[in-house]
């Protein structure tokens, strides 16, 4: 799979951060970026469109439903969905927790263009 084929779902409650990551994804020429500011809105979309989604990028800390809770729900429906947690947390406990929940990858904030592209590349290569 190439970047041009990717349908990405982006979940981030901070609108500036969300738009920044969205613009970075568009710079990578991904096919489509669906962005949401809450896990609840993302879940409503994914209920109908999970099969056409190739990658989920999700913030960890969000009000009402966290990224981790969203991950758990997605894993029940589609265990192999590539799920990248975007987070300011890089502590050992958080990393261990993320691994236990079978997260695909995590990327630390602030996200850089090269860092994000490299991370997605690794995921795409693994998929192949």
């Amino acid at each position: 799979m190439r970047f041009e084929d990717l349908n990405v779902v982006l979940v981030e409650d901070d609108s500036n951060v969300k738009m920044t990551i969205k613009y970075m994804l568009e710079e990578m020429d991904v096919k489509e970026v669906m962005d949401f500011e809450s896990a609840m809105d993302a879940l409503k979309y994914l209920d109908e469109h999970i099969n056409r989604t190739d990658l989920i990028l999700c913030d960890w800390n969000m009000p009402q439903k966290s990224g981790l809770e969203l991950l758990r729900e997605i894993r029940q429906v589609k265990p192999n969905m590539p799920f990248v947690m975007v987070t300011a947390r890089a502590d050992k406990d958080s990393v261990m927790l993320a691994k236990e929940e079978h997260i695909t990858a995590y990327i630390s904030k602030p996200v850089t263009f090269d860092g994000l592209r490299t991370k997605i590349n690794v995921i795409l290569n693994k998929k192949m």
Partner: protein, 347 residues
């Protein structure tokens, strides 16, 4: 609180003596003893003199009892005083620990918010710069460079503050002291300019080392941070050409001569520091460098990390004569500790 210091006891004794002599003087003055004797003769029939003697004996016994009781009381008061001091000390330590935990949480929360706020600048800044480059507008390119640099600097500060505040995240394991130090120095050597000569002593030439296994409780990442920061500072204090000498030897912890240690001395031929600067170098955000060259947290982090390793750090410096940093890390009893196993897991 009652005070039972030697000075107070002597004062009380002097006071008692003064009272005694004052009363004695008064008795002599009013001829008390003769009058009393005559008085007891008058009442010989009721054995007043024997009764008086018995009373004096009783008072003497009371006095001895009182002195013994006071001594016991003194012991109890001293014990109570000591317990009270320990309680105050414990409360203070507890409060400080709670403060540190609270600060750690605050730093963590603050870091999260600030990292979010930095995201647009660091994520999109380069695209704007590229756009400006295509337009050929150098003036705005320079502006953008300043904005990106400043945001990167802010991010570094956040990372350093988190490192400083989140001490609970550090994990330690028994490591071969010489191997760890050797590996760290070898790595850091590459970061120094070629005009600065790095010399080592205590390790055999070409970074060989004594085969004796000396274990220290260590986090390798933090160890690297300690030496990187110190060598970076030493390098920056040297104007173009100079030397950094690193010597390693077995020694003892400064505060506990029974605890063996690995002593590492890092000496540079740099500009040195005056006493006022030496006293402040471990203060957070204190820096002698330009703001673009550092966050002022480097040595604060070094001291924190050294102490996390149960180590000790001392600084000797003279303005114009260079600086020596002396580190001591306690050696583990190799009968009780074994080398940590390596495992590498990354998402």
């Amino acid at each position: 609180m009652a005070n039972f210091s030697k000075k107070d006891i002597y004062l009380e004794a002097a006071f008692l003596t003064a009272i005694f002599f004052a009363v004695l003087f008064l008795f002599i003055k009013i001829d008390f003893f003769d009058r009393f004797y005559e008085f007891t003769r008058e009442y010989e029939h009721i054995q007043l003199d024997e009764i008086t003697s018995a009373l004096i004996a009783f008072l003497l016994a009371c006095l001895i009892f009182t002195i013994r009781y006071i001594l016991k009381f003194k012991k109890a008061v001293i014990e109570l005083d000591r317990a009270n001091s320990e309680l105050i000390k414990y409360e203070k330590e507890k409060f400080n620990k709670q403060k540190i935990v609270a600060l750690g949480s605050l730093a963590s929360g603050l870091a999260h918010e600030i990292k979010n706020a930095l995201q647009p600048t660091l994520g999109l800044g380069q695209f704007i710069r590229e756009g400006l480059t295509q337009l050929g507008n150098q003036k705005y390119i320079n502006y953008m460079d300043i904005i990106i640099d400043s945001s990167t600097h802010a991010h570094k500060i956040i990372e350093n503050v988190l490192l400083f505040a989140s001490k609970k995240e550090i994990e330690f394991a028994p490591e071969n002291a010489l191997e760890t130090i050797h590996g760290t120095i070898r790595f850091c050597r590459d970061l120094l300019p070629t005009t600065i000569e790095l010399k080592t002593k205590g390790l055999v030439d070409n970074f060989g080392y004594d085969s004796e296994e000396l274990l220290i409780n260590c986090n390798q990442t933090c160890f690297y941070q300690i030496f990187f920061n110190l060598l970076n500072n030493a390098g920056k204090s040297i104007n173009h050409h100079g030397e950094i000498d690193i010597s390693i030897e077995k020694s003892h912890m400064p505060k506990s001569t029974r605890t063996p240690s690995i002593k590492v001395k890092i000496s540079d031929t740099g500009c040195g520091m005056d006493k006022e600067t030496v006293d402040r170098i471990f203060d957070p955000f204190f820096s002698t460098k330009d703001i673009s060259e550092g966050t002022g947290l480097g040595l604060t982090i070094v001291k924190t990390l050294v102490e996390e390793h149960d180590g000790d750090i001392k600084v000797r410096s003279r303005l114009g004569e260079g600086t020596t940093i002396i580190l001591n890390f306690p050696i583990l009893d190799k009968n009780k500790y074994k080398l940590a196993k390596r495992h590498n897991d990354e998402i």
